[in-house]
């Protein structure tokens, strides 16, 4: 019996407790938060190494056997997500140490972020639907407070929309859980998969599946349920937005993938086609909404919606290759998108604005920062040989293999429009001469500045590395996707003694 699967949940909680006790010592909080996020990353990598042969790490909390107790189960897909969330936490914390105002740190940015991380990691490793709901509430509550922290008017208004729609989604999720429990008599995901596939319950399963689709769709920002996202994500500081963009919507997407590859696979002709349609519409509406924006952070935030479309597209196609594409895309998007938000935050830190009209001439002033931005932006658009190219290539190949021409055409078109948005930022912020020269607000050079940039440099290198070492990444994602498609091993690992 090993503690390893529980560590990504317990370590952030320990960190949060220490941060809360050190409430008045801001510098100590920074150190503790960084230390624990590094520990979480370490534990996640350990778990990744343990499951890389395709096994599932299972732990029964409190020694109550599955399916009666609380089960934690981490397969390869979970481990990838855990490592990504750990990586994200470390880099956002480094960024926040330099950029975030003392007011927000005093009000508990670090303990709240660690609790958010705990909720996210819990959602990634849980093997039980009701616990998934609990972890969702943990991460949502933390995110509510993080979003409203600071109390500026746009933040509060965005928070109200975010809180209302997410509470509605939780109520839907809970109702779905209730009906599922009445039907199957269990909420352990492995046993649920077993029970649902055995009996022929027809329409009821499909109806519950649609409830889950809506609940996770709201959280992931899927068409037509994403209206809270553009209203709330651009309002908090860049560190919080980066954390949200990398973790929150991705948890929704992860849960959707988990549930629709493990439990609701009885009616793919209806359910997965519905997901695919939603994916196409999500991509288009996200990218079109972004084209109309002229604020850097808003463009990036609205683009999250269109990226989620790609992630869900792989699930909708529902072939091993498509899921491989989805996993690569998730890895790519978490790294690249976070980096873009951080770079945008760095620009704002120097110039004091996100507005495309006011900014300009940054290529001349800050070539280093420009390189960091352009590599991530091109990767987001899918220019070879960067990470986004291989992710999109795999997805489109899977679409062609299935003969799903429409979605392939949509994905390619949206890719082009993404390029347009990124080029728009590039032209306005970096190429165009500044309308009125904006003085630097801080001295952006020296060792401290380099330390501030270090997470962005690391992410940019990762984005390039994912492109260069696409082969090993692809192999790994393929094994993980096969594991998702053949759920028997997962069920066996959870129910067979663990």
């Amino acid at each position: 019996m090993t503690l390893l699967p529980a560590l990504p949940i317990l370590l952030p909680l320990c960190g949060a407790v220490f941060c809360m006790l050190l409430r008045t010592h801001l510098a100590a909080q920074k150190g503790v938060a960084l230390l624990f996020s590094v520990l979480v990353l370490g534990a996640s990598i350990g778990l990744l190494a343990q499951t890389r042969d395709g096994s599932v790490a299972v732990m029964n909390v409190g020694n109550w056997a599955a399916p009666y107790g609380i089960t934690l189960a981490a397969d390869m897909f979970s481990c990838v997500m855990l490592v990504l969330s750990g990586l994200l936490a470390v880099s956002v914390f480094i960024y926040a140490c330099f950029d975030l105002d003392t007011e927000r740190i005093r009000f508990g940015f670090f303990p709240l972020s660690l609790i958010l991380l705990m909720g996210v990691n819990g959602a990634f490793v849980t093997g039980d639907l009701f616990n998934l709901y609990v972890w969702f509430e943990v991460l949502l509550t933390a995110s509510f407070i993080l979003l409203a922290l600071g109390g500026e008017q746009p933040q509060l208004e965005g928070s109200i929309k975010y809180v209302t729609l997410n509470l509605l989604s939780s109520a839907l999720f809970l109702a779905g859980i209730g009906i599922l429990y009445g039907m199957a008599g269990t909420l352990n995901m492995a046993e649920l998969a077993h029970v649902v596939q055995q009996g022929d319950r027809g329409g009821l399963v499909t109806m519950v599946a649609v409830m889950f689709m809506m609940a996770f769709g709201i959280k992931a920002g899927m068409f037509p349920l994403y209206f809270w996202l553009p209203a709330s994500y651009p309002t908090p500081p860049a560190a919080v937005t980066a954390l949200f963009s990398g973790l929150l919507t991705k948890v929704g997407a992860y849960s959707m993938i988990r549930v629709f590859t493990l439990i609701f696979i009885t009616d793919p002709d209806f359910l997965h086609v519905l997901i695919l349609t939603g994916a196409g519409l999500t991509m288009v509406s996200g990218v079109l909404a972004a084209a109309a924006q002229y604020e850097m952070r808003k463009i990036l935030a609205v683009h999250i919606v269109s990226q989620i479309g790609y992630v869900i597209m792989g699930l909708g196609l529902f072939t091993p290759l498509a899921l491989t594409g989805t996993i690569i895309y998730l890895i790519h998007i978490i790294i690249v998108k976070t980096n873009l938000f951080l770079v945008a935050g760095a620009i704002r830190r120097i110039k004091g604005t996100y507005d495309l009209h006011e900014l300009g001439g940054l290529y001349k002033e800050r070539p280093g920062l420009s390189v960091l931005f352009i590599i991530s932006a091109m990767s987001l658009a899918g220019v070879p040989p960067l990470s986004g190219f291989f992710a999109k290539f795999t997805l489109i190949l899977a679409g062609l293999n299935r003969g799903a021409w429409v979605i392939v055409a949509v994905a390619l078109g949206v890719s082009l429009l993404t390029l347009y948005s990124m080029v728009k930022i590039w032209t306005y912020v970096f190429w165009k001469p500044a309308p009125e020269p904006l003085p630097d607000r801080i001295t952006a050079s020296g060792g401290k500045w380099l330390a501030f940039l270090s997470p962005m440099i690391a992410f940019t290198l990762l984005a390039v590395g994912l492109g260069i070492f696409a082969g090993p990444v692809f192999d790994y994602a393929q094994t993980a996707a096969d594991q998702l498609m053949n759920s028997d091993a997962y069920i066996q690992a959870v129910l067979g003694g663990g």
Binding site: M1, A6, L13, A16, V17, M20, R23, G62, N63
Partner: protein
């Protein structure tokens, strides 16, 4: 609020309410009760005090910040999962120690009890954080 009746009643009610909350906490292992409802009860005792006197008075008799209370409770709950690890069981497995006091009374102390005390403090801390925040808005 400055009602003499409420203030006088609160002075007398406050200690028994806290004692009863602790009674509920310890009763919880075998009977209805437990850390959650105990903490809620203690929280409402302090809320009553805040209503009758003022939020700053309630803060004063709590002595520590409610957020510290929450953190301490979380720490206690986390620690309660550790002992079974030494005997090779999973995290949070219930572990019991039987103690016999010199007077001959048997006492069972277990990790679920420590967990429950942690829950008590977490609930107390969270309730008071929210109530004080709402109270100080006025």
């Amino acid at each position: 609020m400055s009602s003499t009746i409420l203030r006088t009643a609160t002075r007398y009610m406050f200690p028994p309410l806290l004692v009863f909350s602790i009674y509920l906490l310890f009763r919880g292992h075998h009977f209805p009760g437990g850390g959650f409802v105990g903490g809620l009860f203690a929280g409402s005792a302090f809320s009553l005090y805040a209503l009758a006197f003022s939020v700053s008075d309630a803060r004063r008799i709590l002595r520590s910040d409610p957020r510290d209370v929450t953190a301490a409770g979380l720490a206690l709950a986390l620690i309660s999962g550790i002992p079974p690890l030494f005997s090779g069981h999973a995290y949070l497995t219930g572990t019991w120690w039987m103690l016999t006091l010199p007077s001959g009374v048997h006492l069972d102390i277990g990790t679920p009890l420590i967990f429950d005390i942690g829950v008590y403090f977490v609930v107390l801390g969270v309730v008071l954080t929210l109530v004080f925040a709402l109270g100080e808005e006025q």
